[in-house]
Amino acid sequence: MQRKFVVSDFEKCTGCQICEYVCSAVKEGGFNPLLSRIRTVRIEPAFNISMACRLCEDPICVKSCPRKALSKDEKTDTIIVDQEKCNGCAWCIEACEFGAIALHPVKKTIVLCDICDGDPKCVPYCPTEALSLKTPEEISQKSRKKAIITLVSRISE
């Protein structure tokens, strides 16, 4: 079985940050984007997307951690953070190509998306249905379909 992670469709995303509010509330008991494991990015004027951990096959964050605080869970594919070992050095934050890791402002250790045990709470709140939990295969299927639809519509013109 392929791994699943939270993806965002930038054509649908409006940058409303609702996912961030829901995530921080579910994980930390209060509303604060700085505590969210998923983050929105807005590039002016109108590009919006949400980013969360992609649960990479061979995660660079795990490899980069000098204290071996990070590991990949064999069963769930998520990244496990050993709170005892992590000292908030942020080396993994720098290493991650997607900016999917954040430093918890109070605990001063790192946090990242754990897909809420396979049922990410942010997804059903997304008002434009831009968010979904998908496998790489599902993502590529969608891209293939979209490419064909565009092609067909161009030919029929």
């Binding site: 409006t14 409303c16 609702i18 209060g30 604060n32 434009t128």
Partner: protein
């Protein structure tokens, strides 16, 4: 206290001193937040009779109790001060990411006094308040200011409310802009007040967590609300087209003013250009432009749409076009070419000016030009003919920089027409000095009343009665007894949105706005509110604003409408011949004041104010 920070930040720019004042729970319950807070603080801290552009004016920013939670459309904030346009209460409601950052910094309100010695911007970094030098920023436009300050601090979590050159140059209808391409605080010249204080921007970074009383229940309810709101009728239109969606209804029904209220028939002349606003539909917009919906923080609707112009003289321009901009800078100036309106709107936003006021004052100048009251000599060669969109691009920066004729127009249409004279006062479209929004009130009679009695001048959102009127829910051609009460009730009801600081476009969510909001309030704050209490709250705040105006010298004659509304019947369109008579208007005012429980002169009685719990106000202004 859940929901609230319970703190107001007071900043004195003259002495560079800051102070924190506690906001007690009893006060929160009585005024809810947002507009309720801002008018109370303004009333308390500002001395009556001051010059709005002097250091004595007090500028108040406030957010609501839902701010920073997951309740749909909670990102609104209000800015209030004495208006340099009207001399009465000035107020503008914006929506962005600023409000939530401010809330997370740990405040419900910000009160700014005095005047900085030199250009300054304020940086509120949670509990650290810095007065930073803005000398280098003076003269830069709003969007550049946003980028420069974010880059200087080096953090995109910093959010800004900034003014542009128009605010610096004290253009009386200058606005405050927060975040790129977003709804701004446009109306009543709050940007000029900021400029008069030499305050370029208020930058905020907030890292605190917003906690609520009943988190799980709130999360469940909001999941439902999110689903509901995206399926609602209003929000569907807003999602697809934004306010221009409903705007097409107004335009097609002869409610949208054309050429400074000289026509309402949008289809009298044939469509000859390819990018004409009369062609607007969702599909057409998607075909013609990159038409992308973007949302304010925490909003599931996303009514803002960025439209990129792909070709022609305005190629590359991107801007969020709204109905009021389409009217003011478009139809009212005789311009139907969409890319030009988008460009003009972008100019207003970057320079920091209200699009409605800008459009109305230019349309007035165009009519002066048409009638020979202003000549090419006065305009320094600019051909101010209706429909000339190139002139628009020339004159807008002149207003912002107070250059030539722009210096006169920057005073607003009331003062400009008094200065130019020659009968031009008769077609200066304003009430209390605030320029008219895009509705021809000669046939929308209840709307006419609401524009006249609004505490901030010609205001389309105080009662928002144009919708029911245009759709025929009430008689739009004749004012009937009892409509005064309808207007008053709408005002009391709608001002609640501005106390909780949620968006007017959230209307699809509420079965009963009073009980639904009371329920949400209890989940957020833990404070039980009754429906009855809320009904009184709206009325209380409305009376408070009225009391403020009375303290500034308001009398019945200030609730007025432009001469054109009384003397020039609508020449064409579905409401051809409609006009408002003075007798009818007096009857409307009587009906409205009576419904409000005020005297025939429009003065709140001591009894009424005490009934609303405004005992101190009753002593000062009650009759």
């Amino acid at each position: 206290m859940y929901g609230y920070s319970g703190r107001m930040l007071i900043v004195d720019l003259t002495s560079k001193k800051t102070k924190i004042e506690a906001i007690p729970e009893t006060f929160c319950r009585k005024f809810i937040g947002g507009n309720g807070f801002s008018i109370s603080f303004l009333y308390e801290h500002q001395t009556p009779g001051i010059d709005p552009l002097s250091p004595d004016n007090v500028l108040v920013f406030a957010v609501g109790p839902f701010c920073g939670t997951v309740i749909p459309t909670n990102a609104k904030y209000v800015v209030q001060a004495k208006s340099p346009l009207t001399g009465f209460q000035g107020k503008s409601i914006g929506s962005s990411f600023w409000s939530q950052a401010f809330r997370r910094a740990g405040y419900d309100a910000l009160l700014i006094k005095g005047r900085a010695e030199k250009p300054t911007y304020l940086f509120i970094d949670d509990d650290i308040i810095e007065f930073r030098d803005a000398k280098e920023l003076w003269g830069t436009n709003c969007w550049e200011t946003d980028r420069i300050i974010k880059d200087t601090i080096g953090d995109d979590n910093v959010r800004l409310a900034a003014i542009g050159p128009a605010g610096e140059n004290l253009v009386r209808f200058a606005s405050i802009i927060s975040d790129h391409y977003h709804e701004d605080d446009g109306r009543t010249g709050m940007g000029a007040v900021m400029g008069s204080k030499q305050l370029k921007a208020v930058a905020v970074r907030g890292s605190k967590t917003v906690e609520v009383a009943k988190l799980d229940e709130l999360l469940d309810l909001c999941k439902e609300y999110n689903r509901k709101v995206i399926k609602g009728l209003t929000s569907t239109i807003m999602k697809d087209l934004g306010t221009i969606g409903t705007g097409m209804e107004y335009l097609s029904n002869g409610a949208t003013p054309i050429r400074n209220f000289q026509s309402t028939d949008a289809f009298k002349e044939p469509i000859t250009i390819s990018e004409d606003i009369r062609k607007i539909s969702t599909e057409w917009m998607r075909e013609q432009y990159v038409h992308k919906s973007i949302a304010c923080a925490g909003c599931p609707i996303g009514c803002s749409h960025i439209d990129f112009i792909k070709a022609g003289p305005y190629k590359g321009v991107a801007y969020n076009m709204e109905y009021q901009g389409m009217y003011a800078l478009g139809t009212n100036c005789g311009i139907w070419y969409l890319p030009a309106i988008v460009k003009a709107g972008q100019l207003c936003d970057t320079l920091g000016m209200d699009v409605i006021s800008t459009g109305v004052v230019i349309a007035w100048a165009m009519e002066c030009f048409e009638k020979g009251i202003l000549t090419s000599k006065d305009t320094e060669g600019v051909d101010l003919s209706f429909g000339n969109h190139e002139a628009l691009m020339e004159i807008i920066p002149k207003i912002a920089n107070r250059d030539g004729l722009g210096n006169i127009l920057a005073e607003g249409v009331k003062r400009a027409s008094e200065k130019i004279g020659k009968g031009s006062e008769k077609f200066a479209m304003h009430s209390k000095g605030l320029e008219f929004p895009g509705f021809d009130v000669r046939w929308l009679k209840a709307t006419a009343l609401s524009f006249a009695v609004s505490t901030r001048g010609a205001d389309h959102i105080s009662a928002s009665i144009f919708g029911p009127e245009i759709r025929g829910r009430i008689n739009r051609f004749r004012f009937e007894k009892g409509e005064g009460e309808f207007v008053a009730e709408k005002e009391n009801n709608l001002i609640l949105y501005d106390l909780f600081m949620i968006c007017r476009f959230s209307g699809d969510l509420w079965m009963n706005v009073y009980s639904d909001l009371a329920h949400l309030y209890a989940l957020v704050t833990g404070i039980p509110l009754t429906t009855e209490e809320l009904r009184t709250t709206g009325e209380r705040v409305w009376n408070m604003e009225k009391a403020y105006n009375i303290r500034e010298g308001w009398t019945r004659k200030d609730d007025s409408l432009p001469s054109r509304v009384f003397n020039d019947p609508i020449p064409d369109g579905p409401a051809k011949g409609s006009v408002l008579s003075k007798e009818e208007f007096d009857f409307m005012l009587d009906d409205y004041y009576a419904a409000r429980g005020w005297t025939r002169d429009g003065m709140p009685t001591k009894k009424k104010l005490i009934e609303l719990g405004l005992n101190d106000v009753a002593k000062e202004v009650g009759v």
